[in-house]
Symmetry: none
Subunit: 207 residues, 4 copies
Amino acid sequence: MEKSKKRPSKLETPDREKEKISANREKILTTALTLFTSRGFFGTPTSLISKEAGVSTGTLFFYFKTKEELIDTLYRRIKEEAAKEMCRGIDKQKTTEAKIRRLGTNMVEWGIRNHAKLKFMEQFAHSPFVSTSAHEEGMSHFFFLGDLVKDGIREGAIRNIDPSLLFHMMAPALSGLVVQASEIENPAEREKIVQDGLDFIWNAMKA
Amino acid sequence: MEKSKKRPSKLETPDREKEKISANREKILTTALTLFTSRGFFGTPTSLISKEAGVSTGTLFFYFKTKEELIDTLYRRIKEEAAKEMCRGIDKQKTTEAKIRRLGTNMVEWGIRNHAKLKFMEQFAHSPFVSTSAHEEGMSHFFFLGDLVKDGIREGAIRNIDPSLLFHMMAPALSGLVVQASEIENPAEREKIVQDGLDFIWNAMKA
Amino acid sequence: MEKSKKRPSKLETPDREKEKISANREKILTTALTLFTSRGFFGTPTSLISKEAGVSTGTLFFYFKTKEELIDTLYRRIKEEAAKEMCRGIDKQKTTEAKIRRLGTNMVEWGIRNHAKLKFMEQFAHSPFVSTSAHEEGMSHFFFLGDLVKDGIREGAIRNIDPSLLFHMMAPALSGLVVQASEIENPAEREKIVQDGLDFIWNAMKA
Amino acid sequence: MEKSKKRPSKLETPDREKEKISANREKILTTALTLFTSRGFFGTPTSLISKEAGVSTGTLFFYFKTKEELIDTLYRRIKEEAAKEMCRGIDKQKTTEAKIRRLGTNMVEWGIRNHAKLKFMEQFAHSPFVSTSAHEEGMSHFFFLGDLVKDGIREGAIRNIDPSLLFHMMAPALSGLVVQASEIENPAEREKIVQDGLDFIWNAMKA
DNA sequence: TATGAATGAGGCTTCATTCAT
DNA sequence: GATGAATGAAGCCTCATTCAT
């Protein structure tokens, strides 16, 4: 209704204002991540988040207008980070198979280093607590996957089936692999699992 | 005044009376199923369930001691039904591949006829709202799958990888297929999708 | 969104269901009346109302969906009662002057017997806390006043000025009289004030 | 660093410094006036006032220790202004009637030019949000009215009734007139209404 | 003077659950 | 079996006010 007259930002603050940085804001996000994954969205009162984060209720609602906005922010961030991590080094791979395998490895490695984030994504991937717009934004980061698949089909490396179907079967399978792999401590064993899993996926889709 | 006229216990339903039958009870379960899938567990107050079911709050809590017990009952029922449906006619199939394919077709057909139940399973498969015991009981109905896989590996029909990993990649992939297929109206198109999906899965696991 | 399927009311309950009678409901209304007049709308937390009424928070919100609905109900009731009281015996008066005087006397007497209600009306007559619809309903009970004035003008008993203007000057003047009169204990003195006040009003409007 | 350069105290504003002058302070007062009249006291958070005034929360509380002090200041100012306006040119009128009529005209004209202030006075005239002391100070500006009435009675121009009663009936009637008149755009029509209204009032009180 | 992040008490409302009828 | 009024803990969020910069 009323537009905030956005005072001209001082020179010191460059214009990437979208994501203000603030120690408290970050503490809240980190704490919320942990709590949401371990207790669920409704199982985590905002009062608990602020207490655990060491700030007051007021502070939480100063940074996030609603509880939903908090989870949305978290969701967007993590999806973006995951997507970025996923495609790391993919363009250096020559074959489609190599790309797919690299992508899987990336995901597994990220999942192991970021257990909480992985669980968060698993839990809220289809959750109604996350706004549609956040879901869409989150999804958008993975569009490159669709392209990769289409290219693979065109080149004859991937079986010619509906890319959407392929995506909706491959993604949860990969997800399952990451979860299984990330639960294994021993690096050698884990490597074995990951390779088996990637075989599974690649066999499923290869032409 | 006369208490418990010792109801004639039919042979099929011995008196472990876990599942009392009553019109109101059923109405509550049916209503809850729809509401839970469309609004989520916390988004569905018990008062709404009872109102929509046309009974009083008291009645709901007469049949189910807590809200959790209601969702547990629902979960157990549906998992059991899904498992029963899944293995229908499997023993008549000769090869492992045929069995796997039959199983997939069963699931898809059931998913189409029982959209609400499918969504319910998707939503609450990993949900903390469902008690651990219900989750375990639900899972137990699918043990036969593990056996099927192990047999397949022993026979050399299925690739020799950790059955648990295989299960945790195959199950969500199948799930994805059912969801995708059940969203397609045209039977011919759907059949195509299903076959492609089953190819995907079988290629993934075959030796 | 969803219409309550209004079960067929049992024979014992005649169909004037609009205003359910319930000891608790009445206690809440009475308590709220007192508190609102002495502390204002925002100065009176719902928790205080329920505490003073001797019921739980839940009970208050069982009978009134929101705090606003509570004040609305109160407002409608009191306006209706006041209007009913105001026109008591007016049709028995022959002249317009007699009618106006009778009406004034009625108001004063009612105001003295119902001090809290009088203050409530004074305070919330133009208040934004009361919904527009309640304001309109409340006003509607006083339409007969407009008719009375118009009749008076037609008959030549009242000066020919815009009835709306007349109403908006007479009403608050009468209101002022009631308040002033109701603060006087001694009946004789009070009677004097009332007569002076009515003279004031009648002289103002008479042709 | 140099503190209080001992501002040159103009003769008109001796240093009782009750009313500091500052652009920001004035902006806050103006904004608050508008917001309070359109949204009420409790409906207007201090944060909204400061935002709309284009200053920070801190600044608002620098000039006004509390929210109540803000409304008090506003109330005192407006009452004083209204009273000053009301008696403009009254001493030049010879008869009591002329004085009363002049006073009414003054009020109406001021009310039209200062709609927000008029509404503010209407709304907070009996409000508990305004401190008693502010109410008393505000009232004191209108004492001259009491004197005018008493004089009128002594001279036989005004009917001999309790001046307090008269005041409490006349004031709201006049108030009603101002509101009604100020809602009319057309100057000629308005003039008509004002004259009718003043007739109403004068007839009410004349001997 | 001016800023705006930080505070925390307190307000309104929801909802699972009980129990007398 | 069935009803629905009653309960009260707990949740989300607002907002006046402070204070370090």
